[in-house]
């Protein structure tokens, strides 16, 4: 039986175990004078039965499904005549895919050597057998687990403690999963980054001022040498993010102050959801808004003033990105400002402070950590944003501080490096990992810095 079918089956068994144990706990309690004489509520006996039924069965299922293919493949390869044994991992996977294609019926066996077709039938038989064993084993373990829990439905056994402990472990596994995933991603990016630095020296990457990742694909091909200086990308990213934050922080913060301190309840309940809707617009929509409306407008405006602006400019991308991240700043700031206790406002107002003085001197310092948190979230959105920049700021890696020029960002380069058919061991594709790693480190440092600043200036109320 397939793993996909076994999974719901185990869950159904768990539900059945839950029901049976529930009924049994009530039946056990009845002669004693009601469920008050049990050590735990019927729910806990039932939940323990369901957990005993599902968890061991699922663990066995996961382990089996994880090693099934590897074991079967090993046996199949070993069954081949010794003279046809593969010499390398690549060859082995070639032969295996041939065998499994025959087994699946997508390759005509007539044109293939006999040892392949033989192996194919062996593979099929093994897979059948494994599937059956797996199904029987899993169901058996589920039933055994449930039966064990069933026998332990007794008034003197405290099922509540078992259930609570098990749930705590499940929660821990979930938390650990998130952490391990992050660590895994960082680790794999780190390994690829090391491979990149084998090809390009780290000093050139960090301090080079020109970026043009086109390298020759073959040795005999005529192509440019390729330059991997990351500085123009980071200045581009910083330029656009700075413009975006220059728009988003004042607009977002002031609108948050208006909404939380000055607006009437009705106004707030209308305006806030509308502002938050800005966050729901897909970035590609912002992108064409930036490329088709804002960028030409800026170019025309610059022409009137007598400046020269390219039709794709950092300013256009930054302005639109700023609008996009306004809700991150405003919504979070509004929440934390509203969370400052009313007694603080009363204290200040009763001393004769005006509303704006109260805001500036009491509420804002108290809400600072949350506000910085909102700004950080907005900043990381700005740094990570790709689509708007591709459409409105271009791909040219210019080293410039002029917002009217076209620039490019780290994320845009990562996207263009990996899009399309690429071989995976050239400096060009590997540089994407190095860029990702550097971006990760930079945002991490920004976060640490911001936390330090917050800790220094916050005014904590209790």
């Amino acid at each position: 039986m397939q793993t996909a079918n076994l999974l719901p089956l185990v869950l159904v068994l768990a539900v059945v175990a839950y029901g049976l144990a529930y009924m049994r706990s009530r039946a056990v309690a009845a002669p004693l004078g009601g469920i008050r004489n049990l050590k735990a509520l019927p729910f806990y006996y039932a939940a323990r039965a369901a957990l005993w039924c599902a968890i061991p069965a699922l663990i066995v299922l996961a382990v089996w499904a994880g090693f099934e293919d590897k074991v079967i493949q090993g046996i199949v390869i070993a069954s081949l005549p010794p003279d046809t044994w593969p010499e390398s991992a690549g060859q082995a996977s070639l032969i295996l895919s041939q065998i499994s294609n025959v087994a699946a019926g997508s390759l005509n066996p007539e044109f293939l050597p006999e040892h392949i077709t033989g192996a194919a039938s062996l593979l099929e038989a093994m897979q059948d057998k494994s599937g059956n064993f797996k199904a029987i084993l899993v169901v058996l373990i589920a039933v055994l687990g449930a039966t064990f829990a069933w026998t332990r439905v007794a008034p003197h056994i405290n099922a509540r403690k078992n259930v609570e402990t098990t749930l705590r472990r499940i929660f821990f596994v979930c938390a650990a999963l998130a952490v391990l995933t992050t660590a895994g991603i960082v680790f794999s990016v780190f390994l690829e980054t090391l491979r990149f630095f084998d090809r390009v020296p780290i000093t050139e990457f960090l301090f080079g001022t020109s970026w043009s990742p086109q390298t020759a694909l073959r040795i005999d091909q005529i192509g440019s040498e390729g330059a991997f200086g990351v500085i123009p990308l980071f200045t581009g990213t910083l330029l656009i993010s700075a413009i975006a934050l220059l728009v988003a922080v004042p607009v977002g913060l002031l609108s948050a102050i208006y909404l939380s301190e000055y607006a009437s309840k009705r106004m707030r309940s209308t305006v806030k959801p509308v502002l938050e809707m800005l966050a729901g617009i897909p970035t590609v929509v912002y992108g064409f808004f930036a490329a088709l409306t804002v960028a030409p407008f800026i170019r025309d405006l610059a022409a009137i003033v007598g400046l020269e602006a390219s039709s794709q400019s950092a300013l256009a991308a930054g302005l639109v990105m700023g609008i996009m991240i306004v809700p991150f700043v405003s919504s979070l700031s509004d929440d934390v400002i509203s969370a400052v206790p009313q007694t603080m406002r009363d204290g200040s107002l009763a001393l004769g402070a005006t509303q704006s003085e109260t805001m500036k001197k009491v509420i804002f310092p108290a809400a600072l950590p949350g506000i910085i948190g909102g700004i950080l979230l907005a900043a990381s959105r700005a740094i990570g944003e790709t689509m708007i920049v591709v459409m409105a700021a271009g791909l040219a890696a210019n080293l410039t501080a002029n917002p009217l020029d076209s620039v490019t960002t780290v994320t845009v380069q990562i996207a263009t490096l990996l899009v399309g058919d690429q071989e995976f061991d050239s400096a060009k594709t590997l540089s994407a990992f190095a860029l990702g790693m550097l971006l990760f480190i930079v945002t991490l440092l920004l976060n640490v810095l911001a936390l330090k600043i917050v800790r220094k200036y916050r005014e904590q109320y209790d």
Binding site: K265, D346, G347, L351, E459
Partner: protein
């Protein structure tokens, strides 16, 4: 000032613990069921005792406060004299805090709150549309139920008001104001060595005295106190009550309290509120020894609360 007989205060203490209390002669009776003081009809606008004084600081006439459709204050007229300590007492929800908050327009921040009638401070209308609330609140300071120091240093808390109102031209002047205010609030000796420490790190009683110092720092004429001791332990309460007695020489003090003993200890006059009505106002001694209204008597003897 403590004029309450021992039996009254003992009964009032016990009353707070449960509905049925043993009365002095040993019978048990359910205080709520027997007399039903809530059923006593109060005639609107009729206040027993002496609500008016000559040359009042506050002259309040026919004050009506409503939250939306709810009338919280029903046609109250009262004078508050210069440099007197007046206590507002009454059961929860009787409107005494609402009435207090009208005196420096703290109710303004509540959208649905409407205040009608004539409220005058030194013969100037408090609720005049041209009136500057900032100036009013500088003259009428307030101390709240829960100590609410700002999450700043002790110094900055006291200096907050003077800075806002521009009371000091130089740092040294500001230092003097802070020191004087802390001295008046009896906090200088405890705080002088840690003026830069966070105010939120002080004990509850110290925080409340800091809030008093903060109010004094802008040299108000009136100080409103909304149950200033309800979050404090008895020792801290005693300190604050001493402070009130000292301050009564230079300020008009209006104090809302749930503790009748406290009202008896600190105030010159006492006003008894009941369900939005001002039932009785008189010299504190008179209110506690010979109350004229049956409701007042029921309340101070602990029949309900």
């Amino acid at each position: 000032m403590n004029t309450m007989s021992p039996s009254i205060s003992a009964e009032a203490d016990m009353r707070s613990k449960g509905a049925a209390v043993p009365v002095p002669d040993g019978r048990r009776k359910d205080t709520l069921m027997e007399d039903k003081p809530e059923d006593t009809v109060i005639e609107e606008g009729k206040t027993v005792g002496k609500p008016f004084t000559a040359d009042p600081k506050f002259k309040l006439r026919n004050v009506d406060v409503s939250y939306g459709a709810d009338r919280a204050i029903k046609n109250i007229s009262l004078d508050i004299g210069r440099n007197e300590v007046i206590a507002f007492i009454g059961p929860s929800g009787c409107g005494k805090s609402t009435f207090l908050r009208c005196l420096n327009r703290m109710n303004d921040s509540i959208d649905i709150c409407r205040v009608k009638g004539s409220l005058e401070l030194d013969e100037q209308n408090i609720y005049d549309s041209k009136r500057d609330v900032v100036e009013l609140r500088a003259r009428v300071g307030m101390v709240f139920q829960k100590p609410n120091p700002f999450p700043k240093s002790i110094y900055d808390n006291v200096a907050y008001g003077p800075r806002i109102h521009g009371l000091a031209n130089r740092k040294s002047e500001l230092d003097d104001i802070v020191e004087n205010s802390l001295r008046k609030a009896g906090l200088w000796n405890e705080a002088k060595d840690r003026l830069d420490a966070m105010a939120t790190g002080m004990s509850g009683g110290q925080q409340q005295r800091l809030c008093i110092a903060r109010a004094i720092a802008v040299s108000p004429e009136v100080i409103l106190m909304d149950e200033p001791c309800s979050a404090l332990d008895p020792i801290a309460t005693a300190r604050v009550e001493e402070l009130i007695a000292e301050m009564s020489e230079s300020y008009t003090i209006v104090i809302v309290t749930h503790s009748m003993q406290q009202a008896a200890r600190v105030s010159n006059r006492t006003a008894y509120f009941h369900m939005g009505h001002l039932v009785e106002v008189n010299e504190t001694d008179t209110v506690f020894t010979s109350p004229q209204h049956p409701l007042t008597e029921s309340y101070i003897t602990g029949r309900f609360g």
